[in-house]
């Protein structure tokens, strides 16, 4: 019953966001950004919080989703939906190729290899100026109207309409992740997090399950990336870089890695804070850095983790 109430509350808040957001001083693009980065952080948390595998390189897959969508829309004339699909395919294929190389590593060594591999794509985007726009990013394209069943949904100017499109994708992705986590597959992933050795002795094919969790996580991360590119009508090389991976991890930690909705809450806090800091000071990077330090020192369980603990 309580779970149902939380679920209903979250969805009502999300569905009504365009109405209450202006009342608290927000604006629509900020709301959409929270939603999309929240999806990316939840996708990361599928691996981080629910399989116990420390990836510090998820920016690569978010970025590939963004570039996949941007490049196909710009050069191949893809529509909005096809562009999103292309981004997801690109990110997922990269995860399938890289995953097996690093599956045998664990813990801090796994983290290190994900960081290093993530940078490959940053350098490709950075160096391949003629196609990707290099450091300037990939601009010069726009999300197109959606056509379905004879209807046409104008997305180019309408920020609210795009929010709802993003929310639809968010809903599908989040439901899929929730169902997966409650399925036998998700339970096995939890058992790997809790005690990998024991799970191995019980005969679970650990590598295969970690790989699967990795690919699922990267798939949803690249979906978030594709949506993010559409939101900005721009693919930014900065979201391929390792600092962005760190931002995703801090969102997950800040909200609470052990709770399903934690990363979304973390993304909301982080995005709003960053937006605010960069509007008042040039040295916002120092404050973000300080924020990382403070979260780790005083708030390692995250908001929802602290709440859970206080209740029990």
């Amino acid at each position: 019953m309580k779970r149902f109430a939380i679920l209903a509350g979250v969805w009502v808040l999300l569905l009504l966001a365009p109405y209450w957001l202006p009342l608290v001083g927000g604006y629509m693009t900020l709301g959409t950004r929270v939603l999309i980065l929240g999806l990316a952080a939840m996708a990361l948390n599928y691996l981080l919080g629910y399989t116990g595998v420390l990836s510090f390189g998820h920016a690569a897959y978010v970025g590939l989703g963004a570039y996949g969508a941007g490049l196909t829309i710009k050069y191949l004339g893809f529509g909005t939906l096809q562009g999103i699909a292309a981004g997801v395919v690109l990110g997922t294929v990269a995860a399938v190729v890289i995953g097996p190389l690093i599956m045998r590593l664990r813990g801090i060594y796994f983290a290190m290899c994900t960081i290093a591999f993530g940078q490959v794509f940053y350098f490709i985007a950075f160096r391949w100026h003629s196609v990707t726009g290099g450091d300037d990013g990939l601009g010069g394209w726009k999300r197109l109207p959606l056509h379905f069943f004879g209807y046409s949904l104008e997305l180019v100017q309408d920020e609210v309409a795009f929010y709802y499109v993003a929310l639809a994708f968010f809903a599908v992705a989040v439901c899929a992740m929730g169902l997966l986590l409650n399925s036998p597959l998700g339970r096995m992933q939890l058992s790997i997090r809790e005690n990998e050795q024991r799970a191995r002795f019980l005969g679970l094919p650990i590598e295969r399950h970690v790989l699967l969790a990795w690919v699922i996580s990267c798939l949803f991360a690249s979906l978030a990336g594709a949506l993010y590119a559409l939101l900005n009508n721009f693919a930014d090389p900065r979201i391929l870089r390792w600092d962005f991976s760190g931002e995703l991890v801090i969102m997950a930690v800040l909200g609470g890695m052990r709770s399903f909705w934690g990363p979304l809450l973390g993304a909301a806090v982080y995005v709003v804070l960053q937006d605010y800091l960069s509007s008042i000071t040039e040295n916002w990077m120092s404050f973000i850095g300080l924020f990382f330090v403070l979260v780790v020192m005083f708030f390692p369980r995250g908001v929802l983790g602290v709440l859970k603990r206080a209740r029990s």
Binding site: I102, Y109, Q119, R127, G246, M285, G289
Partner: protein
């Protein structure tokens, strides 16, 4: 063409020496304390900028000696206040913490010394080329390589022959046993951290003399250092050294033929190594 190749191989070796110096420090800390020090690049930058400010008062030589030591002091203070509390916890937290520190270092450097690049004055007799034919072989470059070799040799000698070195090596293998033998593990980790930071600070001063100073100079070196560690083999310091030189030369050679792939080649090498030998070229079985 031959000269161009020679130039780039030399260049690659020198850059590789930087990677190695930086990666050795990272590796020391990683092996003993299980912390990936993201802020290592920040310490390098700081060493360079401190040397820049000091050199006005104590000259190049004074700065070369004092700046890395000041960096070590700051490093050990940060270790004592922040990083020490995270030993034994989920490595995620030390990653995030040092990541935050790295952001702060970069931004504060930019704030204090400005975003534009600054020149670092080296003694005149070091700045001139050694021969007409090999115009790229300046005295400074040779001097730099000599310092790096001396530092690496000193590190390996310390690890091999001193009591501290023996304890560090033992702690890398089994910290619990070292602790139960009555050795102060806390102090050991702190000294080891300082040793790693010293190498970063030294690399910073040397890099400043060759490339000038930029707030991002350390961040640019951190990824190649990671690759050096992975390629060389996690847990093996000799591997880290070898890995650094190897990717330096590889990226130097690639610059001759295909400049835009000079970074990508490092990652391709890393992928190949992980594919055929997941523990790295000189890594020991079972460490990963």
């Amino acid at each position: 063409m031959t000269q161009l190749l020679l130039f780039n191989v030399t260049n690659g070796l020198i850059i590789g020496a930087f990677y190695a110096l930086m990666a050795l420090g990272l590796s020391l800390i990683l092996n003993l304390s299980g912390v990936i020090n993201f802020a290592h690049g920040g310490f390098l930058t700081l060493g360079a900028y401190v040397a820049y400010s000091l050199s006005r008062f104590v000259g190049f030589w004074g700065a070369l000696i004092v700046a890395p030591l000041l960096t070590v002091l700051l490093g050990m203070a940060i270790e004592a206040v922040f990083i020490r509390r995270l030993y034994g916890k989920d490595p995620l937290y030390s990653l995030l913490l040092t990541f935050g520190l790295a952001l702060m270092f970069e931004d504060l450097t930019r704030f204090s010394w400005g975003a534009s690049s600054l020149p670092f004055v080296i003694p005149e007799w070091l700045a001139s080329p050694l021969s007409q034919q090999m115009f790229f072989l300046t005295g400074y470059r040779v001097f730099m390589v000599a310092i790096v070799i001396a530092a690496v040799a000193a590190l390996f000698l310390v690890l091999r022959y001193t009591r501290l070195g023996v304890r560090i090596r033992a702690g890398t293998l089994d910290l619990d046993t070292v602790s139960s033998l009555g050795i102060n593990v806390r102090g050991l980790r702190s000294l080891n951290f300082g040793l790693g930071i010293y190498l970063a600070g030294l690399a910073g001063v040397l890099a400043a003399g060759m490339l000038g100073l930029q707030p991002t100079m350390g961040t640019a070196l951190i990824m190649p250092s990671f690759i050096a560690i992975i390629v060389g083999g996690i847990g093996s310091l000799a591997g880290t050294l070898f890995g650094g030189l190897l990717i330096g030369v590889a990226s130097g050679v690639t610059t001759v033929y295909f400049p835009s792939a000079s970074e990508a080649v490092m990652y391709i090498m890393m992928g190949l190594v992980l594919l055929v030998r997941p523990r790295g070229l000189l890594g020991e079985e079972g460490r990963v």
